[in-house]
């Protein structure tokens, strides 16, 4: 595809590229690359050793291939594993020192990093390719003892916390992509909420892939100490390119006794064009551990972008009475594919989990819900409720549901409900008769279909997400 064609593709408004000078690692995956990343980040020895352990482990692991959406073999030697704006090589100390081009990029994306403009009282960590370029509202958070910074900074400043928790939910050798991430992760966010503290604002990370031939491997670690609460949101976009770019992130959440973490994602990576050329491979490992009693982790995701979305944000319910929730909207249009869902592993007594999944498929797309609910034999009196709804638009798309259910004791219950419906011509006609055009009608009906999930999002983002849902499906009916 030519640059001109890309420009003409108006559907994806975040598809621009920022012309900026980059520092890149040597091409390809090697011990040198791992050392380069660790070195450029001036990491302590223990961190490099951890990375190399992962790298060595990776040599014996195989890429999984049980997923429904197949993709051409990725040449890992043809990627750059680190790309950073040259201007960020010395981490800017204040917003004034950030390259104006980067500030401009975030402004275009609707994410002002300028604190005076206060994005509705939301603290933002902005990750540009491989590095975190800015974190806002740091001082205000520090007063409460809350740590919100890039993971690179945390490795330097809070090594004890990082050592204790990094890899404690997603082990270093977990699976191919998680291990790859452990070896070459570049940046991401770190959050620590001290005991009995309610984080006073939404924390948010905005991920942007800019450079070409670059993989983004971010790593996020969130720890909610006893009795604390935090709500965290991530957003993502990337330029339009006709190559497929890999995004393989690891996100680990840890909730101690009586703590609650709410993690929301609005994923709008470039989905590829109408013919299915280009787009991001979004292969992400997200896992939360409800480690303490009465703890709660809630995942909400709105997945509208990416050529392939392949992820299962999961909860390990270790603490007694802990609660795990998963609310998901996955929209696939044109040639997009999604294989997504969750895993709820009940280990503690009286643990509860709830799964609400809404899959919408249009064009030639394929949408799969895949989920595991496993109640172990000691997790007595546990409950799960799962509801999977699929909405089909047109007759060339697909929707599939594969639930894996394992109940290890007689006192626990698991419920699973699933529906598949086609967007109803009569409903559309009814809306049209009331003066709504086709796009408005689809947007209304689809937003109604997704309501239970949308209302889980923080207010500021719910409106944005509703619009995104409508935009993602533009032109898919009629």
């Amino acid at each position: 595809m030519k640059a001109e064609d890309l420009k003409n593709n108006k559907e994806y408004k975040y598809g621009f590229t920022t012309e900026i000078e980059n520092i890149k690692s040597p091409k390809g995956l090697s011990e040198e690359t791992v050392k380069f990343i660790s070195n450029i980040k001036k990491e302590p020895k223990w961190m490099l050793e951890w990375r190399l352990k992962a790298f060595n482990r990776l040599k014996v692991l195989k890429e999984p291939n049980w997923q429904k959406p197949k993709y051409p073999k990725i040449n890992y030697q043809d990627l750059y594993y680190y790309s950073a704006p040259k201007s960020a090589s010395e981490k800017p100390k204040s917003l004034d020192e950030i390259d104006p081009k980067i500030l401009e990029t975030y402004k275009k994306l609707g994410i002002p990093l300028d604190e005076q403009k206060r994005l509705n009282g939301i603290a933002v960590d902005a990750v540009f390719d491989s590095v975190s370029v800015a974190t806002t509202f740091k001082d205000e958070l520090t007063k409460k003892g809350i740590i919100f910074c890039s993971i690179s900074e945390a490795i330097q400043k809070y090594p004890e916390l990082v050592k204790k928790y990094l890899g404690s939910v997603i082990p270093l050798s977990d699976h191919y992509f998680a291990t790859l991430n452990s070896a070459v992760f570049t940046d991401g966010s770190f959050v620590y909420i001290p005991p009995n503290t309610k984080c006073p604002m939404e924390l948010s990370t905005y991920f942007r892939i800019n450079a070409s031939e670059t993989g983004q491997f971010e790593r996020t670690l969130i720890i909610a100490d006893k009795g604390s609460y935090v709500s965290y949101l991530e957003g993502c976009t990337a330029p339009m390119r006709d190559e497929n770019q890999l995004h393989a992130a690891n996100v680990e959440l840890i909730a101690l006794d009586d703590a609650e973490i709410k993690y929301s994602t609005v994923q709008n990576w470039y989905p590829g064009d109408e013919k299915g050329v280009g787009g991001i491979y979004n292969f992400v490992t997200k896992r939360g551990a409800c480690r303490g009693k009465n703890s709660k982790i809630s995942w909400t995701q709105v997945e509208t972008g990416s050529a392939i979305t392949w992820k299962y944000p999961s909860c390990i319910l270790q603490g007694d009475n802990s609660v795990g929730e998963f609310y998901s909207i996955a929209i696939t249009n044109n040639f997009q594919k999604a294989d997504t869902g969750t895993k709820m592993i009940h280990l503690g007594k009286n643990t509860k989990s709830k799964i609400i999944s809404k899959g919408i498929s249009a064009g030639n797309a394929d949408n799969m819900y895949r989920g595991l609910v496993e109640i172990k034999n000691k997790a007595i009196n546990s409950r799960n409720y799962t509801q999977c709804d699929s909405l089909l638009m047109g007759n060339k798309c697909g929707a599939h549901t594969i639930p894996y259910i394992k109940n290890g004791n007689a006192t626990s219950t698991i419920e699973h409900e699933a529906t598949t419906t086609k967007i109803n011509e009569e409903q559309l006609y009814y809306c049209n008769q009331r003066g709504l055009d086709q796009e408005e009608a689809v947007s209304l009906i689809v937003n109604g279909f997704c309501k239970e999930v949308l209302q889980q999002l923080p207010m500021e983002f719910a409106v944005e997400a509703q619009k995104l849902v409508a935009i993602s499906l533009e032109g898919s009916v009629g």
Partner: protein, 244 residues
């Protein structure tokens, strides 16, 4: 306002309307009566622009051919259909649906869209006229509504959108006498010299409350008899058999 000449409508290779003629002027109330399968609902669907019908003949609305307008354009230009079976749209708040609808119509007519506050004031007024509880408006559109509630909701939408031509497709079916009275009051209070009604019904009983200027008997896709309000009363006594 509406001039229909030699209308033929076919669906799934079946000819339903077979040379249908009708003229409606502003301020008039027309009733179309007829047995099952005579083409009553087809007429409502064709006028509102439902897809799937093959149309021959001519339908002019305020001098313009209707066939060139999409369903939403007809609605925006003042054609309203009260559905026989109003659709349920799960997850969509009734208030939001009504506001989206009203603003789409306003926007198309170059009027300013109403903000939430102005809309709530307006809808409160309109719904109290029909004795509709406000709580009803925060429920999901038609989901779990009783038959009567659904029909009242249709009339509420009519009063809100202020159409020029209102088509009521068997709005009386499934209504108890109290609901029927409320629906009729709603129609009567909206009736004026600028707008017209086309009331499609099986029975005379709605016409006891809404007085038609003309009653037409539709049979086998054609109007076979036209008269004044008395024709409806007569039909109630003698049935359709003598006419069709």
């Amino acid at each position: 306002m509406l001039n229909i000449k030699n209308l033929e409508a076919t669906i799934d290779n079946k000819l339903i309307l077979k040379g249908f003629n009708l003229n409606i002027k502003p301020g008039e109330v027309h009733a179309i009566m007829g047995p099952n399968g005579s083409g009553k609902s087809t007429l409502a669907n064709v006028l509102s622009g439902k897809s799937g019908y093959e149309i021959k003949g001519e339908i002019k609305y305020n001098g313009k051919s209707l066939s060139e307008l999409s369903t939403e354009e007809r609605a925006q230009k003042g054609i309203f259909l009260a559905f026989q079976y109003p659709l349920e749209i799960p997850g969509v708040n009734t208030n939001i649906f009504l506001r989206t609808s009203l603003n789409s119509v306003r926007k198309a007519n170059g009027e300013k869209e109403l903000d939430t506050l102005a809309f709530l004031k307006l809808i409160k007024e309109k719904s109290s006229e029909l004795g509709i509880d406000e709580k009803f408006l925060s429920r999901q559109l038609n989901v779990g509504f009783s038959g009567g509630e659904k029909k009242k909701n249709e009339i509420l939408q009519m009063k809100l959108l202020q159409p020029k031509l209102s088509i009521l497709d068997e709005t009386d079916s499934g209504l108890d006498i109290d609901a029927l009275k409320i629906v009729a009051q709603g129609v009567n209070s909206y009736k004026n010299k600028d707008n017209a009604f086309l009331i499609i019904t099986h029975y005379q009983r709605l016409l006891d409350y809404i007085k038609p200027d003309f009653v037409h008997v539709l049979s086998n896709g054609k109007i076979v008899k036209t008269g004044k309000a008395e024709l409806g009363v007569q039909l109630e006594k003698t049935g359709y058999t003598n006419l069709v």
